[in-house]
Symmetry: C2
Subunit: 166 residues, 2 copies
């Protein structure tokens, strides 16, 4: 189990990592929770609770999980550091993996909604410095840059001149 592991969990599977988290909260790794974690980590796509619910609550086999359990488990997974939320330009938020995937942030296009991931060490260290200046214990951060992506910036040939001032 989680004997003397400690920092060895770097290579642990998401399910293992989740189990360790649950142990600290005296909670259980049920079949349903395992199914949900597996489903979530079977793809790197961003997703909303409803996507998962579609995939898990409509089936009629032994891997069906109820809507409530999906919500309950997603909250736990976020708390466990397996998932984090990212904003979409439409004002909504989606989940993404926060485990087994390198730390990164996003450029978010307000035209087409595309998410561009990037990683930057400098930002991480500046953030760390600012945190310590405030005696703040940093656990994670979320940086989102809003604007327009290269594709959407290209002059749109001629669009029907809808706003030509009548």
């Amino acid at each position: 189990m989680s004997d003397d592991i400690g920092s060895l969990d770097e290579g642990a599977s998401p399910v293992e990592k989740f189990r360790e988290f649950l142990v600290t909260k005296r909670q259980r790794l049920t079949r349903e929770r395992e199914i949900i974690v597996e489903e979530v980590f079977s793809s790197h796509e961003h997703f909303e609770p409803d996507d998962l619910i579609d995939r898990l609550s409509n089936r009629h086999d032994s891997r069906r999980v109820s809507r409530s359990s999906v919500y309950r488990t997603l909250a736990l997974m976020e708390e466990a550091g397996l998932l984090r939320k990212v904003a979409r330009p439409n004002g909504r938020e989606v989940y993404e993996h926060d485990y087994g995937y390198p730390q990164h942030d996003h450029l978010i296009c307000d035209q087409c909604g595309m998410l561009i991931e990037f990683h930057n060490e400098e930002i991480a260290s500046i953030v760390e410095r600012i945190a310590s200046e405030h005696a703040f214990l940093r656990k994670s951060h979320r940086l989102e840059v809003y604007g327009t992506c290269a594709d959407c910036r290209r002059p749109k040939q001629r669009r029907p001149r809808k706003l030509d001032l009548i």
Copy 2:
């Protein structure tokens, strides 16, 4: 009205700034919208739609504004750059002024929910550099650092007597 102003609106009041935005969308600055903007900018506190609704929809005088109009106007104000959203540790979001207030980011305490504002030039320029590397036109960003504030890190021996610090 908005003749040749352009960049002069730096010092304009929130209501003026909003009016200029509305003009570009061929929309109107109604009495209700003006009341909402005034109410929002009468205090620097973070707030949720419901806070405003409490203050504006329950009154029985000429400054009453309906729930729908509050929602509709907040969305416009966000679009106009007067407001932006900030996450709270409880998974919710609140609005804060994004006009007439210096650009800043937040440290967010996951224990007590306190928001600590900070400003950092370096981050802004790194973000700008990353954006241009991706041919991304940066308009704004949001950086939130999650963790535990100094107060909450203190061993909880005795509850922090907050009134002692001044």
